[in-house]
Symmetry: C2
Subunit: 194 residues, 2 copies
């Protein structure tokens, strides 16, 4: 599990982390396994962990007052899952984070992360890179949700996250795009006929 993290770190930072520096990561993160349908975080609770997905897939979602689920994001291997707002400010989270498959995670508390930032310049750099990227991605997604038609949204998903298409149920993909499962099904059919 730690080896996956190490490979990932080397890849993303285009560096080769020393044993010494990686030792800090080992101290910060502990291994955690979740079976399918288990939760890393429940709505109303305070998010305690930042989790690195070594294996498996997860979703982060809200439930609205009509009881409808809305998927904020998916996570798969080499992605990070957490509610940063809750983790940082210790406020109750609006989100649920659920394992969609059996998962191998590496989790760290906020205290450990603060410590790690002091110990590892690479981790600070990684944090910057990730924050930038996720900010850019979410801007793009706002664009999509505001201005795209159902068909354009589906095309966006196929082009930007093809790996999601066959891994997650259509009903969840629909929710991720802000569509109903019926509409997604119809749009897919139309697109295939073209």
């Amino acid at each position: 599990m730690y080896e996956q993290l190490r490979t990932y770190l080397n890849k993303v930072t285009s560096a080769n982390i020393s044993d010494e520096e990686f030792q800090f990561f080992k101290e910060a993160f502990s291994a955690k396994k979740l079976k399918k349908k288990q939760y890393l975080l429940h709505e109303g609770a305070i998010c305690r962990y930042m989790a690195f997905i070594a294996k498996g897939a997860m979703r982060q979602y809200t439930i609205d007052d009509k009881g409808i689920e809305h998927i904020a994001r998916f996570g798969i291997e080499e992605w990070w899952m957490s509610d940063r707002e809750s983790l940082l400010s210790l406020t109750p989270s609006r989100y649920n984070i659920e394992a969609l498959e059996d998962c191998h995670l590496l989790v760290a508390t906020n205290e450990k992360l603060i410590l790690l930032r002091e110990q590892s310049p690479l981790f600070v750099k990684l944090g910057q890179t990730l924050d930038e990227k996720s900010y850019i991605a979410s801007q793009k997604r706002i664009d999509v949700t505001i201005s795209y038609t159902a068909e354009e949204k589906v095309i966006y998903l196929m082009e930007n996250h093809p790996q999601f298409l066959h891994r997650f149920p259509q009903s969840m993909l629909a929710s991720y795009l802000g569509l109903t499962p019926e509409t997604l099904s119809r749009v897919r059919k139309q697109l295939l006929q073209k």
Copy 2:
């Protein structure tokens, strides 16, 4: 203009920046004035600057293939405007950034920002804080655009950005929410009657 930046820095970082450290900011940022309707960035161009708004208001928007404008974000005093993706990767931007009022800006090129990060720990910290906050805010906005009705969107705007309501034309507020101006007008009327 620099005094506004200094006040802002002290406020956001809850520190009191030294003259010495602030000197690096002065070297990195240069003053730039934009009149209403002038542009900081045009679609297709590479974004050269990160801009701090000392005075005025701006909008960042895209134009879709039907020629319709979609507002990605507004910026007012003490906000930052830029297309980070374009600035960092030197790729052409999808965005236009326009002054909605006469603006006083402090702008820095990416090179200056990199230098500043080496010189000022406070700036690094500021960057982290901002990235976190804007990521959290854009997650919230995705929630809103995916799952809210027109009425709920308008309430969201009134609660989260009341300062926008009387400062920007309704047509732009509508675009920001992913609504038409007509719908926004009707929803406002309904809400006032309650």
